[in-house]
C-alpha cells in the first residue's frame, strides 16, 4: 500500500543524523520535524532567519514576530539564534545546512527539479527554493510518485520550468525511496506491499533496479 503523507515524513526522518542542521520546506517536509528519531539532536533552520525552530506555540501564545518561512507562528528551542535574510542564505549557500527537504512537482532522472511555476497559471514566485536547491549539499524530495491524473512525476526530463538543475540526491515518494545518480532513479526501497512492477510502471524516467528491493522500515 502506498504511503500517506505522514509515512513519507516518517521515512524521511530516518535520514536525519545527530547534529544535522536541516531546512524543511512547506508541506510534507515540515511534518518531518514530528518524527525526529530519539537520541539525536537536529537543528531546524528557517530561511526567514532562525536556527533552532521549535513546535507551534500553545494557543494564546502566538507571536506575530516569530514565524517560519511558511509564515506560520512557531516557537524557538534553547540555543536558537535569529539573523537576517542575507546571513540565512549565506549559510545555505556555503553548505552549512546538512540536509534540505522539499516538495516537487517534477524531478528528472538527472536530478533536475521543478516546483515553482506552472505556465498559464498564476506565478507566485520561487521564494527561497532556487537558492536552496542551488546550494544544498544534500537534497531529499518528498513527493507523490504520480500527479492526480496518474502521470508520473519522475521524468526523463522536466516539462515544467526548472527550479534547479542536477541537485536532487534522494526521493521519498508514496511508493518508493530512490537515489538519484548517474542519470537515473535507483530504486532503494519499496513502500510496504507495493511491487517493483508498480513502481516501474509509474516511473517515466530511467529506473535502475538492482537485486532484491526491500520494503521500507520505519
Amino acid at each position: 500500500m502506498s504511503l500517506d503523507k505522514f509515512q513519507i515524513a516518517k521515512r524521511i526522518a530516518k535520514e536525519l543524523q545527530d547534529g544535522f542542521y536541516v531546512n524543511l520546506g512547506i508541506g510534507i517536509p515540515t511534518m518531518v520535524a514530528n518524527y525526529i528519531p530519539e537520541g539525536i539532536k537536529v537543528v531546524l533552520q528557517s530561511e526567514n532567519g532562525l536556527l533552532g525552530m521549535g513546535p507551534f506555540p500553545e494557543e494564546g501564545k502566538e507571536d506575530a514576530d516569530l514565524i517560519n518561512a511558511g509564515k506560520q507562528t512557531i516557537t524557538t528551542l534553547p540555543g536558537s539564534a535569529f539573523f537576517d535574510s542575507a546571513m540565512s542564505f549565506g549559510m545555505i549557500r556555503s553548505g552549512k545546512v546538512d540536509l534540505t527537504v522539499l516538495g516537487a512537482m517534477e524531478v528528472s532522472e538527472n536530478g533536475d527539479i521543478a516546483n515553482w511555476k506552472i505556465p498559464g497559471k498564476m506565478v507566485k514566485g520561487m521564494g527561497g527554493a532556487m537558492d536552496l536547491v542551488a546550494s544544498a549539499k544534500n537534497i531529499i524530495v518528498a513527493m507523490m510518485h504520480t500527479n492526480p491524473k496518474g502521470e508520473s512525476k519522475l521524468l526523463p526530463a522536466c516539462k515544467l520550468p526548472l527550479t534547479g538543475v542536477k541537485c536532487v540526491k534522494k526521493i521519498v515518494s508514496d511508493l518508493a525511496v530512490m537515489e538519484v545518480k548517474d542519470g537515473a532513479f535507483h530504486l532503494l526501497e519499496r513502500a510496504p506491499g507495493v511491487s517493483v512492477e508498480e513502481i516501474q510502471s509509474k516511473t517515466a524516467g530511467k529506473l535502475v533496479i538492482q537485486g532484491d528491493i526491500p520494503e521500507m522500515e520505519f
Binding site: 526567514n48 507562528t73 512557531i74 537576517d84 535574510s85 549557500r93 532556487m130 538543475v165
Partner: protein, 234 residues
C-alpha cells in the same frame, strides 16, 4: 544631527511619484506598517517596490496595490494576494521575481558597496536568462547586481535617536539589509530611546545607515498563518 521625525507622514513626505522604495518584512512580519499607511494617505503613485512579498489583499503592500500606487514589484513570492494577481494578469502591474537569497544579498551588496555578487541560485532556470554566468571552481554562478533604491522603509523593534536599530525575532528578516541599502533610510520603531540606552554590542543596524527615525503608532502586527498546538509541548 537631527534624525527624528514625529510620525510617518513627516518622515515620508518627500517620497514622490515614480520612486523606487524598499520595504522590509517577510510576509506580514516586520513590515513598516506606519510608512505604508502614510504612502496610502499621500497617494504617491508609479512606485517600484522591492520587498520579499507583496502583502495580502487588505494589509501590507496590498494596501498600496488596492489604490493602484504600484508600477512594479520586485519580490521573491507574491502569493496570498488576489488583487496582485488581477493587476498582474491585466498588465497594470509589472513584476520581477527574484530568488529570496538573491534578493537579500543584492540588498546587502548595496549596503556593503559591492556593485554585484555571484550566486548559484537560478542557474539553469529562466531566472538565468540574459544574465552573465561564470564558473568558479567547477560551479556556475550568476552575476546579480546591487539594488539602487531611493528610499528604504524598515521596521525595527527598538531604536535610538542616533538611528541605531534592534530587531525582534524573525521580524528582523530583510529589514537590516534594506536599511543598509537605501539612499535615504527611514526607520519606524516600536520604541524610540535616547542614545546610550541600547547595548552597543547588540545593535543590528548601526545608525550611520539610518537617516530618519520615528516611533510608530498603533501596530497591528497581523498574523498571516496562526498555527498552534492545543496541548502543551515540552
Amino acid at each position: 544631527m537631527k534624525k527624528t521625525f514625529n510620525n510617518a507622514e513627516e518622515a515620508t513626505q518627500d517620497i514622490k511619484d515614480g520612486a523606487v522604495i524598499m520595504l522590509g518584512g517577510f510576509g506580514l512580519c516586520g513590515i513598516p506598517e506606519n510608512c505604508i499607511a502614510a504612502l496610502v494617505k499621500t497617494g504617491v503613485k508609479e512606485l517600484t517596490c522591492i520587498s520579499n512579498n507583496a502583502g495580502v489583499d487588505d494589509f501590507g503592500i496590498g494596501l498600496l496595490l488596492k489604490k493602484h500606487q504600484l508600477k512594479k514589484m520586485i519580490a521573491s513570492y507574491v502569493g496570498e494576494n488576489s488583487e496582485f494577481e488581477r493587476q498582474l494578469l491585466s498588465g497594470e502591474l509589472e513584476v520581477e521575481l527574484v530568488p529570496q537569497g538573491t534578493l537579500a544579498t543584492r540588498c546587502m551588496a548595496t549596503g556593503y558597496g559591492m556593485p554585484a555578487i555571484y550566486t548559484p541560485a537560478g542557474v539553469g532556470t529562466e531566472v538565468a536568462e540574459g544574465k552573465e554566468i561564470r564558473n568558479f571552481n567547477g560551479k556556475d554562478y550568476l552575476l546579480e547586481y546591487a539594488f539602487n533604491s531611493d528610499f528604504a522603509l524598515v521596521k525595527a523593534w527598538k531604536g535610538d535617536t542616533d538611528g541605531n536599530l534592534l530587531y525582534r525575532d524573525t521580524a528582523r528578516n530583510f529589514n537590516p539589509l534594506m536599511a543598509m541599502a537605501g539612499k535615504i533610510t527611514i526607520a519606524e520603531v516600536e520604541e524610540l530611546v535616547a542614545p546610550g540606552e541600547l547595548d552597543p554590542n547588540n545593535i543590528h543596524t548601526p545608525g550611520i545607515y539610518v537617516h530618519r527615525i520615528f516611533q510608530g503608532a498603533n501596530y497591528e502586527k497581523r498574523i498571516e498563518q496562526r498555527t498552534v498546538n492545543k496541548k502543551k509541548e515540552a
